[in-house]
């Protein structure tokens, strides 16, 4: 119970911080829109490739953009933690009775809320642009949920790395190295059976692709619930591993200060 209460206090702190930076809210809201419209226009003719199963690229793309947005928003999630470490805020918390998990989960809840809001904007925009989302409301909820699972995993990973690296440069380097390749080694923009074979195999082990595949299936006319459940299961397992890593990173951090 204490963990939940402490997580709530920390979430409030992060949300309040965001609300005080209007231009940052603007960037957060506009960016996914740009992804959707930009990639939508860029790859518009992809649907004409023989073997492409969809006639509406926006509908195909929306789950990909949602997952990409979740990935990027949380991949950089460790940056504010580095700020906190540099300002002595983290050390102040660590000598108080705050639950260690709350220091991470507060940030994850905050970024999950952001992802949810961004996803809703993308869904609405895609609907306006002609997407049907035959899977209906339930499908959309599942799609956003798997995106949040992925986001939470990378958020925990990013926070753990922040605690170990304690330098913004290091975290930027790692995330730059990881985020874009993971996005492109997935079916976010291109149907999986149309990308090179080796990439298809890599994509099978790519958490980003798990989220894209599950989300896309959930909003399709005939959701493959077995596939969705297995990919969601992988993502839950990944989240648990990343949370364990982040919690351990606190211990390593405390040994080194």
């Amino acid at each position: 119970m204490t963990v939940v209460r402490h997580s709530y206090f920390m979430t409030i702190r992060h949300v309040r911080e965001l609300l005080r930076q209007p231009w940052w809210i603007a960037v957060t809201l506009v960016q996914p829109v740009i992804w959707l419209l930009l990639f939508g226009a860029l790859f518009k003719n992809v649907v004409n490739i023989p073997g492409f199963n969809s006639t509406n690229y926006i509908e195909f793309l929306a789950p990909g953009v949602i997952v990409m947005t979740a990935l990027f928003a949380s991949g950089w999630g460790g940056m504010p933690l580095i700020d906190d470490i540099e300002r002595g805020v983290t050390d102040r918390f660590l000598v108080s009775p705050v639950k260690r998990t709350a220091l991470i989960s507060g940030r994850l809840v905050h970024s999950s809320l952001t992802i949810a809001i961004q996803s809703v904007i993308i869904v609405v925009l895609a609907l306006i642009d002609g997407a049907a989302f035959a899977g209906g409301f339930g499908g959309v909820v599942v799609m956003i949920a798997v995106a949040i699972l992925l986001g939470a995993s990378f958020g925990a990973l990013s926070n753990g790395l922040a605690l170990l690296a304690r330098r913004e440069e290091t975290l930027i380097a790692i995330m730059n190295f990881v985020l874009l390749p993971l996005t492109f080694l997935s079916s976010a923009f291109m149907q999986q059976n149309l990308i090179p074979t080796w990439m298809q195999h890599v994509a099978d082990f790519n958490p980003v692709n798990w989220a894209v595949v599950a989300g896309r299936s959930a909003v399709s006319a005939n959701p493959d619930w077995g596939l969705i459940a297995s990919r969601a299961g992988f993502l839950v397992a990944l989240l648990l591993v990343c949370l364990a890593f982040a919690t351990r990173a606190f211990r390593t951090y405390q040994r080194s200060v």
Partner: protein, 344 residues
Amino acid sequence: MLMESGTKIESSGAVVVEAMIEAEGLVKTYGKRDKAVRALGGLSFRARRGTVFALLGPNGAGKSTAVKILTTLTRPDEGQALVAGTDVVAYPDRVRRTIGVVSQGTGVDIQATGRENLRLQGQLYGMRGRRLEERASELLERFGLADAADRIARGYSGGMRRRLDIAMSLVHDPQVLFLDEPTTGLDPEVRADMWDQIAALASEQDKTVLLTTHYLEEADQLAARVAIVDRGKVVAEGTPEELKSELRGDAVYVELAEPAVDGAVRDALAPIAGVREVAVDGRALRARAEDGGRAVPSVLQALEARGIEVLSVRVARPSLDDVYLRYAGRTFQEAESEETEVKK
């Protein structure tokens, strides 16, 4: 052992912890193998309930590391530490509830207002509702932050942030307060104001304060007892008066016109009764005399007789700086610059 010596069992059966902070043989090394830096090399001390205890030493002496261990932020490699009778390694959560910490630098969240900072800090200690709001307002008032309470802390001055740090450390009314270099980096006037605040805290009933500082005057002014820390160890401990009185007599400082040879000066001053511990460093001559005022004419005569020209003479009552020189074998400034070198 450690437990028994620091604890007294009253006739009523209640256990009263007399030594609120006890450190025994603390060792801490950072880094590995050839890069390893030993921050603490067996640091021990004991601070009594209701007093201000100062750890005095230059930057890099290990004071902050000691505070980090005592406040459960990090663990010692060896040794034992008890706060309010509780082992900091075995029961960190229990210790955290009894202590307030103002760490070096600041811990203020500059994106939040002063009141929000205090509120969150209180919430983490399980405070809530009206009691929390009243406590926050009371502390903001007490530390002169009432007017700035609802402004974002980013706009606070260094002194205001420091006061907010102290207010936050007090929100749950801790028994033991750790102040790690609370006045470093503050303007002289702000520092004087901070001294008043700390002195007021100390006079509060039953609060034990551990203060670390590299300002000799600060330890002298505020602390009931001082432990001098050098290279990760306590090299001397006592009340400021005790430490100073161990150095019998006054310090005599003589400024010479030309750099002199140590031996020559020593020989010159050797026959004068009551003058001891003669040391020459370039043009600076330092000695100790039972009665400084009376020794000065003889010292001047003896130097003149050897043709050593004198520019000025100063007699001073012993300071903590002298104490430091005596125990650490170097002056405070030397130690400071040496430690800075090491850090580079």
